[in-house]
């Protein structure tokens, strides 16, 4: 890690009532930079260079996962931040929130097997040049945990064609790992500009060999740091 660079980049990690992975996201972000929590009712993003919308059950997942969180004051600011080119990472519930906010295409539906599933998944890195994967280096496959019951990615055919055309599919479940039934094995997508990225599996839980099964998740946070330092997201 390049320690000489100053000042450190700062991650802002959103926290909604019902979030449960914000602390792991904070700890993961702190391994590559500075990080602070942003409470959902706060409009001020505290000068963050990049935003993480974490996993959990924002607002109890009432109505639909992510449907209510999308209208929180903090999210209104994140939408503006994203439109100005700021880096936004959505993990699990955060991915659902970003889809509901239309910052990412598509939607997440209940797992095809109707079960909450918690397992380590292997993800093929389809694009290793994005602001969220550029530090993956020679890693063509990431091993990180997934845990959700609403993770089946869905988009209609024209949208899928557009996604493939514009190379917005960043991660796919490796053969045998698409347990939720996502269309075309899609595990993570970015927006057209490449500054907003969402995935169902949890990179923030795979940053320490003691508990994460691998440290592959760290590459996502390291990539974001590189992208912020380089000042170019795409």
């Amino acid at each position: 890690m390049r320690r000489s660079l100053a000042p450190q980049m700062k991650f802002g990690v959103l926290q909604f009532p019902g979030s449960c992975d914000e602390v792991d996201a904070l700890q993961a972000a702190r391994r590559v930079g500075d990080a602070a929590l942003i409470w959902h009712s706060q409009r001020d993003l505290g000068g963050a260079d990049a935003i993480v919308v974490p996993g959990g059950f924002s607002y109890g997942d009432y109505l639909r996962a992510g449907a209510i969180a999308r209208f929180s004051p903090a999210m209104e600011s994140v939408i503006e931040f994203a439109r100005d080119g700021g880096l936004v990472l959505g993990i699990c519930n955060g991915f659902q929130v970003l889809c509901e906010a239309h910052l990412l295409p598509g939607a997440l539906l209940p797992n095809a097997n109707l079960r909450f599933t918690f397992r380590q998944v292997e993800l093929d890195v389809v694009r290793s040049d994005t602001a969220f994967t550029r530090a993956s280096g020679d890693l063509v496959r990431l091993s990180i945990p997934a845990k959700h019951s609403w993770g089946r990615y869905h988009a209609d055919e024209p949208t899928l064609a557009e996604l493939e055309d514009r190379e917005q599919v960043v991660l796919r479940y490796a053969p045998g790992h698409n347990f939720n039934g996502s269309v075309r094995d899609i595990a993570g997508v970015c927006n057209e500009a490449g500054n907003v990225f969402g995935l169902m599996p949890h990179p923030e839980h795979a940053v320490d060999l003691l508990v994460g099964g691998s440290t592959d998740g760290l590459t996502i946070f390291q990539s974001m740091r590189l992208a912020v330092e380089e000042g170019a997201h795409v």
């Binding site: 109505l63 449907a67 509901e100 939607a107 539906l109 097997n113 869905h154």
Partner: protein, 87 residues
């Protein structure tokens, strides 16, 4: 049956029901699970089961219902909705 009686309603408000369903063609695992469970209980001849959501609400201005559905109550990317208005 509507759960809120006319007496409980604000003057001028209308009772509305919004039925939200998974869009046709999208895999509906809940509907499929119910469809498999019914024959197990001895109910034969059941097909095309789908499970959705029901939102009941009193509204002053029924013309806003469509926009409420588009923006919050349903996700038009994956769900269809049907608005019913009761006197």
């Amino acid at each position: 049956m509507l759960r809120v009686g006319v007496a409980d309603r604000d003057p001028g408000a209308m009772r509305a029901r919004v039925l939200i369903r998974p869009k046709a063609g999208i895999l509906d695992p809940q509907g499929a699970a119910v469809e498999r469970a019914l024959p197990a209980l001895g109910f034969a001849g059941v097909a095309n089961v789908h499970v959705g959501r029901l939102v009941e609400l009193d509204v002053q201005d029924t013309s806003q219902l469509d926009s409420m559905c588009e923006r919050l109550l349903a996700n038009p990317l994956v769900e269809d909705y049907e608005i019913q208005i009761h006197e």
